[in-house]
Structure formats: C-alpha cells, structure tokens
C-alpha cells in the first residue's frame, strides 16, 4: 500500500488550468493524448496576438522585429529546456512532423537498398509509418525489436539485430500505450557502437522526465508542444548540428532559402532550412511559456506525485476481479493500460464517461504492439499528469468497481 501522501501544495493545482477549474467534476485521465493548459500558456498566446502580432523574419517594421525576437527567444527557451544549442532546434507542427522530416530528409538522402532501420515494437504509428514510407522509396528494410513479456525491450534480441547494416534505431523515451521506458542509455550506446543513428521519440517522456539531449547521446529527439502543457500545432525536432548541416530541405517555400533564382536556389542553414513558410509563431511563443512554467515547478516532486498516483491505481485494481495492467516493466511512466476479463474496454470507457472520467480506449496508435500482445480489443489507458489527485484515482477505482459488476 502507498503510505506516502505528501502535501500537494507545492504542486500546481487545478486552479492554474482554466478548463479544469471550470469543470470541477471532470477527472481528466487522458493526458497521454493531450494535456490541459495552464493559464500562463493561454495568456502568452493571447498576449502575443494582442501586443506583438507580426510575421517573423520578414517585417520591415518594429513589430516584425519584436515578433522575430520573441520567436527566436522561444527557440532559446526550448534549447535551454532540453540542454541543446538553439541552432539545433527546428520547429515543426508536432512530433509526427518532426519524425517525417527526419525520415524524408535524412532517410531519403542517407538510406540505400538493404540498409536496416530498427524500430521497437512499442512504437507509436508516427514512429513506424514515416520509416515504412522511406523504406519503400529507398529499399531499406525495417526490423522490429521484440519485447519481453513485461513490455520492456528484449535487449538480447536487440543486440542480435544490430549489425553493420543498421543505419537507424528509432525508439520511444516512454511508450504512449503502456508507459514502459526503454533503457535508452544502453540502447544508444549499442547503436552507436555499430555506427547507427538514433532517433528518440520524446512525445510522452518530455512532460514526465524532461530530457538532456547533450547527455542522452542520441542524434535526433522529437516532441509535441500539446503533450507538455503547450498549444497544438507546434513541436520540436532536435538534431545534431553536423547531421542537420548535411540534410537536404524537405519542404520548399519562404525563409528556408538563401537566394532564389530560376537558375538555381541556395538554401538557408539549419534550422531555418527546415522551416518553410510562415511558422506557428504565436504557438511557438506559447510553447516557450509552457516550458518556462514547467521548468519553474518542483519536477522531482511532480515525478514522485505521479508515481504515487500510479501506485495507488496499481494497488487499487488488485482488489478488482479480472483487471490487469498490461506492461509491468520496472521504471515505468505514469501510464496504466488496463484490460478486464470479460468486459470490453470500450464499454468500460462509456460508463466511466458518464461519471466524467475521461480515458482513452483502443490500440492507442500502436497497432503492432497490440498485435504482439494479442490484444484484439486494445486496452483502456489511464494516463496521469501533475494536476491529477488521489481523489481522481479514488473516483476511477469506484467507477471501475461498479462498472465491472454491471458488465460481468
């Protein structure tokens, strides 16, 4: 049983999140899909439009210069948050676009027929399909890395798969479907030992664990703003400077060029080379506000709080007949994927929704993972964030107990 319930006062509470404050009954347990936004983030986006709105890197006027400064300051903020150089930070629409960028640009120019891409079986479709597309174009081959029974990477199998043909290993920091966290340090070291590049999908990990890309040793790291308390439509690709410098552009347009003529065009250096067209500058500024806000919190206390809530849930379901958490590897993030003896996850979610408890059901955009686990009905996923409380877990457990009785 959990004995440690600390004073939650140092943690940001629901009052800081307008949607949660306006819906006191709502139990939001779908944080892996998207997080709710603190007021400071909403204010930052609104303030930008009200006070600084102008296109960036273009204006011949003071407002344009100020907007450009805010946009580039946001790049510095992101760089600080992940411990990178700002010139290695490319803004994208989200983690999905960031992976597509790497697959298209790096993959399209580097991969040849017979080269191998290793993907873990945990991966989200966003870290599978872009590689399938580039594999089709180049003749590269995708090799899935199998899992152990507890959902963790099978490191023996991984070691066997690595070889001179391995060009890239793409792996999640934290599985969106199970919460399992692969041993990145070991995997990156092993991949680098055979000369392979590593892309880490931080979409889930960033909000709970953050990242230090300098220490991580990977080549690419991606995340989405909206899963880390920021707005939608903005995400980040971090790439090693020497790799970004060699990668060709993937979309053409304004501001990614140095000089355009009909005889030929030369391109701007990274990161601008990868930011064609008007970027989502207001959202970029709001993302920086989200990261500044998160950096100002007691992140160790947040992690302990989330772990305590996860443990409360894991302990609570041992009293419920037939309920099981899928993926029990140690060191997991605060995500619990549940299956229920006879009851279908979709049916359970319908009854939870009635009680204002929001969860996600299905395959969580991780079809190969669900197939490997033999879960044709998918799972019901409970994903936590810093503003969840012991009362949220109590409400969920009570609702599960009633619902399962009804569906038995």
């Amino acid at each position: 049983m959990v004995v440690l319930f600390m004073d939650h006062s140092p943690l940001p509470d629901r009052a800081a999140f307008p949607l949660l404050a306006a819906n006191p009954e709502l139990v939001w347990l779908d944080n892996a899909a998207t997080t709710q936004k603190p007021r400071v983030v909403l204010d930052a986006e609104r303030r930008f439009y009200e006070e600084s709105n102008a296109n960036v890197h273009r204006g011949g006027h003071r407002l344009g210069y100020a907007a450009t400064e805010a946009y580039e300051a946001a790049r510095q903020t992101v760089a600080r948050f992940i411990n990178a150089n700002a010139q290695e930070v490319v803004f994208t629409r989200g983690a999905t676009e960031a992976i597509n960028l790497v697959a298209y640009s790096w993959g399209g120019s580097e991969l040849k027929a017979g080269d191998e891409i290793l993907l873990s079986t945990l991966e989200h479709h966003a870290n599978i399909v872009p590689w399938q597309l580039v594999a089709q174009r180049t003749g590269a081959v995708i090799r899935p890395i199998p899992l152990q029974e507890d959902g963790q990477i099978d490191m023996t199998a991984f070691a066997d798969l690595l070889g001179p043909r391995t060009r890239l290993v793409a792996i999640s920091q934290m599985s969106n479907a199970l919460g399992v966290c692969p041993p990145l340090e070991q995997m990156i070291a092993a991949a680098r030992a055979v000369g392979a590049c590593v892309l880490v999908d931080g979409a889930q990990g960033i909000a709970h664990q953050g990242v230090d890309v300098a220490a991580l040793g990977a080549d690419f790291y991606v995340f989405s703003g909206h899963k880390v308390f920021g707005p939608t439509g903005i995400g980040v690709l971090w790439g090693r400077a020497e790799l970004l410098a060699q990668m060709p552009p993937w979309q053409g347009g304004g501001e990614m060029i140095e000089r355009v003529s009909f005889d030929g065009t030369t391109f701007a250096p990274a990161p601008r080379r990868f930011e064609a067209g008007t970027p989502a500058f207001a959202q970029t500024v709001a993302l920086a506000a989200a990261l500044d806000w998160l950096a100002g919190q007691d992140r160790l206390a947040i992690a302990q709080h989330e772990t305590a809530l996860y443990q409360q849930l894991a302990d609570g379901i041992t009293y419920l007949d037939g309920v099981r958490i899928v993926g029990t590897a140690p060191g997991k993030g605060p995500i619990a994927s549940l299956v229920f003896g006879r009851a279908h996850p979709y049916d359970v979610a319908q009854f939870l929704d009635e009680r204002d408890i929001a969860v996600r059901v299905g395959n969580h955009c991780a079809g190969p993972l669900m197939q490997s686990l033999g879960l044709s009905q998918g799972t019901l996923r409970v994903s936590l964030a810093l503003y969840n409380t012991t009362a949220d877990i109590d409400a969920l457990l009570a609702a599960l107990e009633d619902t399962l009785e009804l569906l038995q």
Binding site: H344, Y346, D347, Q350, E354, Q377, L407
Partner: protein, 138 residues
C-alpha cells in the same frame, strides 16, 4: 443462408423505441444497451470473419446483410456490449425494409429522437457511421 434468426419481439422498432425513450440519463441508457446486447441473437464464430467485419470501429463489429423477397435481412454482432446494443437498434431500424426505405431512412434522426446523439458525434469510435454505410450499400 436460410437459418438467419428473426429479431425477438422485444427488439421490434416500436417496442425498442419505447424502452430507450423510457431510459432517462446516460447511465440508464448504457445499462439498457447492455441488456439489448443480450437479446440480440449471437452470430456463430464461423461467421465472424474479416470479410464480414466492419472497419473503422473501436470494437469489433461483424455485419451480414441479405435481401429476401426484396426485404433487407440483417445479422450483426460485436465484442462490445454497448456497440452490440446499438446494433440491436440498427437491426430494428433496417430489418425488413425495402431498398427505397433503406435509402431514405434517417438513422441519425432516430438517434437524436432517442437521446443517443452522443453515439452519433462519436460515430467513428462506435462505428455507427460505418455500419450504416455498409447497410446502405447492401
């Protein structure tokens, strides 16, 4: 296939509409849908093939249609009980109708009338839109 089961009396459209209208609130409606799932004749496992599977639902849905004497016959099942309850309503609404009636039937309107519109707005998840599509092209 001649051994298609007839819908029980309790699932005839007027009776069913009365029962759903009498269930007030989400919880009561959800409970009733679970009950309706019990009343809909189950499909044998050998018919639950990919060929009969309706794509685009959170739950697995199998739907068979055939025309007999120019009237539509339906046989449907799901591994989700709430979806199967909705399938009971789909069957009640469409079974025994002519092609012209099938084409003009407003299933969305029926859901609205019965206070089940949330399944319409989440129709991708519940698969209702996909089911109706399959029926209309039967």
């Amino acid at each position: 296939m001649s051994a298609w089961p007839a819908l029980p009396e309790t699932l005839a459209l007027p009776a069913l509409m009365g029962r759903l209208a009498a269930a007030h609130g989400w919880e009561a409606k959800n409970r009733l849908l679970v009950q309706l799932a019990r009343e809909l004749p189950p499909m044998p496992d050998e018919l639950k093939t990919d060929e009969h599977r309706v794509a685009g639902c959170e739950a697995q849905v199998w739907l068979l249609t055939q025309w007999q004497d120019e009237r539509l016959q339906l046989w449907a099942d799901s591994d989700s009980r709430i979806v199967k309850g909705l399938l009971a309503l789909v069957c009640a609404a469409y079974a025994g109708r002519s092609a012209a009636e099938v084409a003009s039937f407003d299933f969305g309107g029926l859901l609205q009338t019965l206070g089940l519109q949330r399944f319409l707005s989440s129709s991708r998840a519940s698969g209702l839109a996909a089911m109706v599509q399959v029926i209309r092209s039967a």
